[in-house]
């Protein structure tokens, strides 16, 4: 169970997140949709502690972090218990596919090398890239890269997986392989928070959809309900624009 | 490179005092290197001194202009490079007994018609960088208002520079220059004004060790002068005796 409590974040004078509350049950899949520049990425980055929020709290299971005065230890704890999948993949270019996955296990989780490799191979099988284990990222397609990146996140058994537009840097014909994988994870009841512009995908895969605008969640509810019959006028406006792109 | 500290002898048979002697080894025949071997008058004198005092001797090479600095920096214990006693230096170092005496003089090409220092007015005159040679040359340059264009060298052969005509004259120790001229049959002659007289001795840092060394070395030099060793070495390298004061 993950609880976000009244999260605030500003860059200089620019208030980007203006008090966000969100409770996520274990196994729940939540999609966040909303216009560009609303702070969706920033919210994920605050959860993953790549940005430090100005105010608010994050509770994961029994561990509550007060963001007002976060310690270095809290930061590492949050990062180690949440995992991020980036739009730009960001695989470690100097490591093979296998090492991209074992790296976190060995360095962060202090696993033995042999054990880490065993786990990594299992995960590579899951994301369907076992035969690429000794390749370097530069020789993979975009879709393959993103699947490795998801594998890297999965490997750490995070309490929640955060996806920041995982398919928007992909060539159209490669989008599907990544969406299929995420659906698979949803079926396995992984807790996930997904920022996406793929409305249909959000509708199909998620339990709940949040519409975010200008740093606030304006509407949320069961995926199909929000997307098919938005109550908020801004939501329906946004959905109209997105559908007609 | 790992220099041992200068340690006290205190009577132990093993504990030989180590003395590191610095030289530029580019000052034939006082000190030079041939076939990777340091040799010359200075080296022979020091080998003799070391033998007499049961020193462990090491020769350490450096650029001439850096030797005094190396002495200050503790890299070497003394300088064997026809070093002159000067009042400023006496303030800063303990000197041993003098072991050589010689004049500084101007030398010019045989073919030239320079007869006196005045004939060289405004001409290029070479000397060694940073040593007493440079200091004394500048001194007489001012004193007699000669307007020399002083060119400093460090490691190159001044005699060669005169031979090829790059400098009109050179300012160097008389004995050294004459020996080289003779040895190589160079077309260089002495102006013979002998403007500066220098007394050569070994300098030591002004500390306990330096004091002790300077005294021991002084004694040995005195002994060597008395038993003729010094003269013998001088004749071996220069053909004449440069170890006696002429003044």
């Amino acid at each position: 169970m993950i609880k976000l409590k009244n999260i605030h974040k500003a860059f200089g004078n620019l208030e980007v997140i203006k008090g966000i509350d969100l409770d996520i049950s274990n196994g729940e899949v939540i999609s966040i949709i909303g216009p560009s520049g609303t702070g969706k990425s920033t919210l994920l980055r605050c959860i993953n502690c790549l940005e430090v929020a100005d105010r608010g709290g994050i509770q994961i299971e029994d561990f509550a972090v007060n963001l007002d005065n976060i310690t270095k230890h809290d930061k590492l704890w949050l990062r180690r218990n949440t995992a991020m999948v980036f739009q730009g993949f960001y695989l470690f270019n100097n490591k093979t596919v296998l090492k991209n996955i074992t790296e976190g296990l060995i360095v962060v989780k202090k696993m033995k090398k042999s054990e880490a490799e065993k786990k990594a191979l299992k995960i590579l099988k899951q994301v369907g890239l076992l035969e690429k284990k000794d390749s370097y990222p530069s020789s993979l397609s975009g879709g393959q890269k993103q699947r490795v990146a998801i594998g890297r996140a999965l490997a750490l058994d995070p309490k929640i997986l955060l996806f920041d537009e995982p398919t928007s840097a992909l060539d159209p014909e490669l989008v599907n392989e990544v969406l299929v994988l995420i659906k698979e994870l949803a079926k396995q009841k992984k807790t996930m928070l997904i920022v996406t512009h793929e409305i249909n995908f959000a509708r199909n895969v998620s339990d709940r959809v949040c519409f975010m605008e200008q740093g606030m969640i304006l509407e949320q509810g069961p995926a199909k309900e929000v997307i098919d019959n938005p109550k908020n006028e801004r939501t329906s406006q946004f959905l109209n624009v997105v559908r007609h792109r | 490179e790992n220099k041992q500290e200068t340690i006290d002898t205190s009577g132990e048979t093993d504990g030989k005092t180590k003395v590191v002697v610095g030289t530029s080894a580019s000052y034939k025949p006082w000190a030079f290197q041939e076939n990777d071997e340091v040799q010359g008058f200075e080296m022979d004198v020091w080998t003799e001194i070391a033998q007499r005092n049961n020193y462990e001797l090491e020769f350490k090479l450096g650029q001439f202009s850096g030797l005094v600095g190396m002495l200050d920096a503790g890299e070497i214990d003394t300088v064997a490079h026809q070093m002159s006693i000067t009042p400023e230096r006496e303030e800063k170092y303990y000197f041993s007994e003098p072991y050589a005496y010689s004049f500084y003089d101007l030398f010019v090409s045989e073919a030239s018609n320079y007869k006196s220092k005045e004939d060289l007015k405004g001409k290029k005159v070479g000397c060694w960088l940073g040593g007493n040679g440079e200091a004394t040359l500048r001194q007489i340059n001012d004193e007699y208002d000669l307007g020399f264009d002083i060119v400093t060298y460090d490691g190159a052969s001044l005699e060669n520079e005169v031979t090829i005509g790059r400098i009109a004259g050179l300012w160097q120790g008389e004995i050294k220059t004459k020996t080289i001229i003779e040895e190589n049959d160079l077309a260089i002659r002495q102006i013979n004004e002998k403007l500066v007289y220098e007394v050569n001795a070994y300098p030591f840092r002004k500390d306990e060790v330096g004091k002790k060394l300077s005294q021991e070395v002084a004694e040995s030099i005195n002994d060597m002068r008395e038993d003729g060793t010094l003269e013998q070495l001088s004749i071996k390298w220069f053909g004449i005796n440069t170890t006696k004061s002429v003044e």
Partner: protein, 226 residues
């Protein structure tokens, strides 16, 4: 004045003998300088408050002043201020200190520029899986940065080798000094200097080849398509 080949033949083994001093000094300076440059580059890149200011000045100073003056200042000027040290620091060690510091300034600049060229997504990805900043830096960023910096790092290495030719000024006897001395005693400057030039050229050429070799190797190891 005719060219004396015999003299050169006699000189070569002596040169080669002293080239070991050159090589030893160079290798140590490269090792130490490179190690220092790592930390300086990280400090400057990370913009650690006061330290990064200090090290920017450090870099500017060592890159902006002649090595010879640095050597003289350190050896003749600074060391004698500490009489307790005087006897403990040999000229070889002093040369090593200055060569390492000076070259570290150049290498730190290369590394800093190379680190900046690595996409910051690499750091974020590493931190997002829970690595500390330093773990990410040493395991993910620097290995990639070093590859980018190889060409400039190698010119620093080559410069170090060439710079060792100056250390006779503070009493380290190496190739250059030997050439000078042997040339002076035999009045064979041309032969001596040509000999020393070629030995240096050989050493730096070998380094050039090593660079190409390493570039190819490193290219492979980060999975570039050949």
């Amino acid at each position: 004045m005719n060219f004396d080949f015999e003299f050169i033949v006699r000189l070569i083994p002596i040169m080669l003998k002293y080239s070991t001093v050159t090589i030893k000094l160079s290798c140590l300076a490269i090792l130490i300088g490179f190690t220092i440059s790592f930390f300086v580059a990280i400090i400057v890149y990370t913009n650690i408050p006061i330290l990064s200011k200090i090290f920017k000045i450090y870099i500017s100073f060592f890159r902006g002043t002649p090595l010879m003056a640095q050597l003289f200042c350190f050896y003749f000027g600074i060391i004698p201020l500490f009489p307790d040290f005087v006897l403990k620091i040999s000229s070889f060690q002093a040369a090593l200190v200055i060569l390492s510091l000076a070259s570290s300034a150049y290498m730190a600049e290369s590394l800093r520029a190379a680190i900046s060229s690595i996409h910051r997504g690499q750091m974020e990805a590493a931190q997002s899986i829970g690595m500390t900043y330093m773990q990410a830096m040493f395991r993910i960023i620097l290995p990639q940065a070093i590859k980018v910096a190889i060409p400039t790092l190698f010119s620093s290495f080559i410069n170090i080798v060439k710079d060792t030719s100056l250390v006779f000024a503070i009493g380290v006897k190496e190739m250059m000094a030997t050439a000078q001395l042997e040339g002076a005693s035999g009045y064979r400057y041309l032969e001596a200097y040509i000999c020393v030039l070629f030995v240096y050229w050989a050493i730096t050429s070998v380094m050039g080849y090593a660079q190409k070799h390493i570039e190819v190797k490193l290219g492979k190891s980060v999975g570039e398509i050949n």
